[in-house]
């Protein structure tokens, strides 16, 4: 076997994949061939340089942010029907609970207002500033509820759209 053939086995030799007779034969050749020994040394040096290529080591804060971003992007696997989920979380969500209360109070108030026996209604302008502010906050809250509902609908739409684009999930 000539030098060229031996040189083709040098990487296998360095990997430890060359065994038995082939390994012994190469070692015997290397013992008396300075050219192939130099080639072997060059390959070793190349692999050492590749292995020593620097890679950045980000700080812990980078990984915290990394995970936070991923959590925001990940879509929970099973999703409960939206209405059920909302109702189930109601005791844990004071804001919507307050809003529901306000809606009920308003409904009672409007029913009472449309009744023919109602007492004369107070002019809104007669409310003091605190009362007007409270009323406007209630209205803002109701508007926010509508907005939240629209955001949830948009999120659902984005989810459906992304699944439609990605198609059936497959390991890529």
């Amino acid at each position: 076997m000539g030098c060229e053939a031996y040189r083709n086995t040098l990487l296998e030799y360095l990997d430890g994949d060359l065994t038995g007779g082939a390994r012994a034969e190469l070692e015997a050749h290397l013992a008396h061939c300075p050219g192939c020994r130099e080639e072997l040394q060059g390959l070793q040096e190349t692999l050492t340089f590749i292995a020593s290529m620097p890679v950045p080591e980000p700080p812990e804060v980078f990984w915290q942010q990394y995970l936070r971003e991923l959590r925001q992007k990940v879509v929970p696997a099973p999703r409960l029907p939206r209405l059920w989920k909302w109702l189930a979380a109601l005791p844990l969500r004071p804001m919507p609970a307050v809003a529901v209360g306000i809606v009920l109070i308003l409904a009672v108030f409007l029913t009472w207002q449309s009744s023919p026996e109602r007492p004369p209604m107070r002019d809104l302008t007669s409310l003091n500033l605190t009362q007007q502010l409270a009323l406007s906050q209630d209205l803002d809250l109701l508007r926010e509820m509508d907005l939240l509902e629209e955001i949830e609908l948009l999120e659902d739409w984005e989810l459906i759209r992304s699944r439609a684009i990605l198609g059936p999930q497959k390991a890529t």
Binding site: T46, L47, V55, Y66, L67, L70, P76, Q169, A171
Partner: protein
């Protein structure tokens, strides 16, 4: 596959958020390093490795439990990196390798070593993506040819040939840059 990995997969399939956190913490550094070595850009490495986690999570249904979890994650990351490199090449964008060496060399030897390191980084960046991928998985991640073949979705023979060509090219470049110093 190890029992702990099977349990983690089961929790992930149940939508357990803490299982996802565990998966990320266990593999984030390996995937980031792999993506960095492929793209040689920190931002790209971050985006690509994060995308790999998202795809893995969404594609849990297709995961074959006879496979190794890390092999599967490497495969997803590698495919994303190869697609990214193809898109950059076709759009004509070239990313210069970022270097993280000490900005002030203390000796002539250090300066020379840095020059050689730069030459190696550039030579690695110029390798065809399949060869680069094989080389990095073998040298940096210490993976056996069989696992690299699984990641690259090719035969073990092709992996060996790619590895051989990649090292030979770098050997020749390194020799050239040494002689020019």
């Amino acid at each position: 596959m190890k029992e702990a990995e099977l349990a983690l997969i089961a929790r992930l399939r149940q939508g357990d958020q803490s299982a996802f956190d565990t998966l990320v913490r266990q593999h984030q550094k390996d995937l980031f390093r792999l993506a960095y070595r492929m793209t040689q850009n920190v931002e790209d490495a971050k985006d690509l490795s994060q995308e790999a986690f998202l795809r893995a999570y969404r594609g849990l249904g297709s995961f074959d439990e006879r496979s190794n979890l890390s092999t599967w994650l490497y495969r997803i990351t590698m495919n994303l990196c190869l697609t990214h490199l193809r898109q950059h090449r076709s759009s004509g964008e070239e990313t210069l390798p970022e270097t993280y060496a000490d900005p002030s060399p203390k000796s002539l030897d250090e300066l020379e070593e840095r020059e050689v390191q730069r030459a190696v980084a550039e030579a690695v960046a110029e390798l065809p993506p399949q060869q680069r991928a094989t080389l990095l998985l073998r040298v940096h991640h210490g993976l056996p040819y069989r696992e690299i073949a699984e990641i690259m979705e090719t035969s073990e023979g092709t992996v060996r040939v790619n590895y051989f060509h990649a090292v030979a090219k770098l050997r020749s470049q390194l020799k050239g840059s040494r002689e020019s110093l």
